[in-house]
């Protein structure tokens, strides 16, 4: 077996883009000696659910045994293998040990990769993710929970599990030489478009393997963030649909994909979500401590630790409170949502009409093909419901048929 590269997070740092590029180009990469072991797009997500014993709205049922299957493919591969999912960031030391033991033998060189973005941008992004996963927690409540030093409750513990960069690297990279622990920093807004990918290319060992066209489709699927008022709208939708109106897959398809990703995130002129002054000051101070700690550890940094330092607040960037949003803006976003849903309904109705016609045609054809003997048997079965003699005849026929099939 060869080297193993584990990309373990963090969420909202370009991880989906990286996974999309790896997935779309897995065959070409395999020809060049790099394995991205996946037969379905979410395979590493399912494997992570298995490793972490996490429920995920019923998806976990598809995850049974997924980690061991993934690990077996990695062990069997003679070259470099890449495993990537952002929820791996939450793994405990015991789970990390299990993961590393299962993926790599004693001779394999393991590399851990973590991508990171400054905390002032990560906190609002995490709340938005919560809202897009049908949570109804208000922004201020969310901020209060994550700034509480006790970190109690599922929300705060999850946040810190996936976002506390020094701790994630200590858990995943604690047993590795620091040069095999790679921190990719997300460039500041306005940086060249491909800069982040170039950093990933280096730490994943993919330099020179993929050309520009390999990235195009993944770029198209990029998942821009929601504005403050749009997030407020989704939160209100959650309050209405969580009472049994939309379950599992319906929510994913209609609210997250259709409304949030395909409709509301396209409203790019809407006010962006930031942090109130008190939380911002707290996050800036914490970021300084992180930068100091990460510098002391001597990890390989692809980018610059300075990029984890939040920007100075410009006078133009006033905080827009999503708990008290601009109601006109919310109403406008709601109108866009209605239009998107109407369009979807029209498309689905047309599909339903077409499928109904195809079904009717197929039934008619089947009826013609079944012929006279089928129609006689069907009439006999119907008659048996009301007529004792017919029922006895049918029972005798079935017994006879059973005997013939058993003897055959």
């Amino acid at each position: 077996m060869g080297d193993v590269v584990l990309h373990v997070g963090a969420p909202k740092t370009g991880t989906s883009f990286v996974q999309d590029v790896l997935w779309r180009n897995r065959e070409s990469l395999a020809e060049q000696g790099v394995l991205y072991p996946a037969d379905r797009f979410d395979e590493h997500f399912l494997a992570s659910l298995d490793l972490l014993e996490l429920s995920w709205g019923g998806l976990e049922k598809q995850a049974v045994g997924a980690w061991d299957r993934l690990a077996a493919r990695v062990r069997d591969w003679p070259g470099t293998a890449i495993v990537s999912h952002e929820i791996l960031a939450t793994a405990s030391r015991q789970q990390v040990r299990r993961a590393l033991d299962s993926l790599a033998g004693p001779d394999a060189e393991v590399h851990v990769v973590l991508s990171a973005r400054d905390l002032v941008r990560q906190i609002p992004a995490e709340w938005q993710e919560n809202v897009k996963h049908r949570r109804t927690v208000a922004y201020r409540d969310f901020l209060d929970k994550i700034t509480d030093p006790a970190r109690s409750g599922a929300l705060a513990s999850w946040f810190w599990g996936v976002q506390e960069i020094p701790d994630i690297l200590a858990r995943w990279g604690g047993g590795l030489p620091p040069e095999r622990v790679h921190l990719v920093t997300v460039p500041k807004p306005g940086a060249p478009r491909d800069l982040l990918w170039q950093r990933f290319e280096r730490v994943l060992g993919l330099e020179g393997m993929l050309d520009e066209s390999a990235l195009t489709d993944a770029r198209r699927r990029a998942n821009p963030s929601l504005g403050a008022n749009e997030t407020a709208l989704i939160r209100r939708v959650n309050e209405r649909v969580n009472d049994g109106v939309l379950v599992g897959d319906d929510y994913r398809r209609l609210v997250r994909e259709l409304l949030a990703h395909r409709t509301l995130s396209q409203r790019r002129r809407s006010a962006r979500l930031g942090l109130p002054d008190d939380v911002r000051a707290w996050a800036v101070e914490l970021s300084e401590a992180w930068i100091d700690e990460l510098g002391e550890q001597g990890y390989d940094v692809a980018g610059d630790l300075e990029e984890l330092r939040p920007d100075q607040l410009g006078t133009e960037a006033l905080f827009v409170d999503p708990d008290h949003p601009d109601e006109d803006a919310v109403a406008d976003a709601a109108l866009d949502s209605i239009v998107a849903l109407l369009s979807e309904v029209a498309t689905l109705q047309e599909t339903e009409r077409r499928l109904g016609q195809e079904l009717a045609d197929t039934r008619a054809e089947l009826e013609r093909a079944r012929g006279l003997w089928f129609r006689i048997r069907r009439r006999l079965v119907r008659a048996a419901d009301e007529n004792v003699l017919a029922a006895a005849g049918l029972a005798a026929y079935r017994r006879l048929r059973g005997l013939i099939s058993r003897s055959a």
């Binding site: 014993e53 996490l54 049974v64 015991q94 810190w160 506390e164 049994g244």
Partner: protein
């Protein structure tokens, strides 16, 4: 407080104390100065505060001796808590333990929230349920001489299972059904039994989530849709042979009385157990782990071992719906009663019994749930270790 030694020495010596059945608290251990001369094995990882506290509390309820208890303790200490929660809390110490400037905050194990202890216990129970040999309970078979007509009991699934068991009634698809009994219970209790049945069959759904979800839908879970059950029964046996039985007393006696049966308990226990809210919620937690660990068949087998270990005779209060769902529950119950009245079925007792009682608790109590969890760990631990 005088500190006995370094952090790792104290943690290691206390862990050893607990692994061998000790029950002293971390604070007590530190103040006594025990373990100051302990030699910590190289590379030993300090277990999480929640895991250590669960082991300490297990020792207070387990009758296992050594080495069986140590084996059980190692199972608890060697596994992460499943699902979402604090990753791994280090033990409290006056200064941050070495190398712990970041990560989950240190905790005195005695102060670890019950929710975290329950996560650890649920993971342990999942492991034990998968580890103990399955005793497969076969459903009672119908004998050759009982090929004739049979009685079906439907409605509140846990009560129905108990009635069937006590009257020796079999379930299955063979034979002609002569009569169908629909048990009529207060709507909130009926719903709680449906939840319990679903969890006992492997669902990971919470009580509040279950009620919230159904309160937003036009329909009801099939087992709670009494008019639907009665209609289906009437289609097969005729409305005059569908009996709606509602009683404040013993439902088994009421059904026996209505149909002229006598009690003839089957040998096998009921297929669904009458579990308290805490036991059902704990089972729900374990289901969440089993769902991602094993396939459905293995999950069912594990539940066959787990559920009896959660059962305790005469559990406390039953469940009712949360306060904000009461209006919905009342309206629903009235609708069900009206539908049933108009069906032409034989009514034994009062259909007004469907009105929710709103007696009981609106959710499981964390403290009691932890007690159930520890007791179940101890019971299954005995089987697992052969102790």
């Amino acid at each position: 407080m005088s500190l006995p030694a370094g952090y790792e020495q104290a943690a290691w010596s206390w862990t050893e104390h607990l692994r061998h059945g000790g029950t002293r608290t971390w604070t007590d251990w530190l103040s006594s100065g025990c373990g100051a001369d302990a030699v910590v094995p190289g590379g030993w990882p300090v277990p999480g505060a929640a895991q250590l506290e669960v082991v300490r509390r297990l020792a207070t309820v387990s009758s296992l001796g050594e080495p069986a208890f140590t084996r059980l303790a190692d199972l608890v200490l060697g596994r992460s808590a499943p699902g979402r929660g604090l990753a791994h809390q280090p033990l409290s110490w006056p200064d941050p333990p070495p190398g712990r400037r970041f990560g989950a905050p240190p905790a005195d194990p005695s102060d670890v929230p019950g929710e975290e202890l329950l996560r650890v216990a649920a993971g342990t129970l999942a492991e034990l349920a998968l580890g103990v040999p399955a005793t497969r309970e076969r459903p009672p078979r119908r004998g050759l001489l009982s090929r004739g007509a049979r009685v079906e009991v439907v409605g509140a699934p846990v009560t129905a299972a108990a009635v069937r068991q006590r009257l020796g009634l079999t379930t299955g698809s063979t034979g002609r059904v002569s009569d169908v009994v629909v048990l009529v219970q207060p709507f909130d209790r009926l719903l709680a039994e449906v939840w319990s049945a679903r969890v006992q069959r492997g669902a990971p759904v919470r009580w509040r989530g279950f009620v919230r979800r159904w309160s937003g839908r036009p329909g009801l879970p099939p087992a709670a849709d009494l008019p639907g059950l009665a209609r289906q029964a009437a289609d097969r046996v005729g409305a005059e042979r569908v009996h709606l039985v509602g009683t404040d007393g013993d439902p088994t006696a009421a059904v026996a009385d209505v149909l002229g049966l006598r009690a003839r308990p089957g040998e096998a226990p009921p297929r669904l157990r009458d579990l308290g809210p805490e036991a059902v919620d704990l089972c729900r937690r374990v289901n969440a782990v089993l769902a991602v660990r094993v396939d459905r068949q293995r999950h069912r087998t594990a539940l066959a071992g787990l559920v009896p270990a959660l059962a305790s005779p005469g559990h406390g209060d039953g469940l009712t719906v949360p306060r904000r769902r009461r209006r919905w529950a009342l309206t629903r119950a009235e609708g069900l009663a009206e539908d049933l009245r108009s069906g032409g079925y034989r009514v034994h007792g009062d259909l007004g019994r469907l009105v929710p009682a709103f007696a009981g608790v609106t959710g499981p109590d964390r403290g009691e749930e932890l007690a159930v969890a520890l007791s179940a760990c101890a019971r299954l631990g005995e089987e697992w270790t052969g102790g």
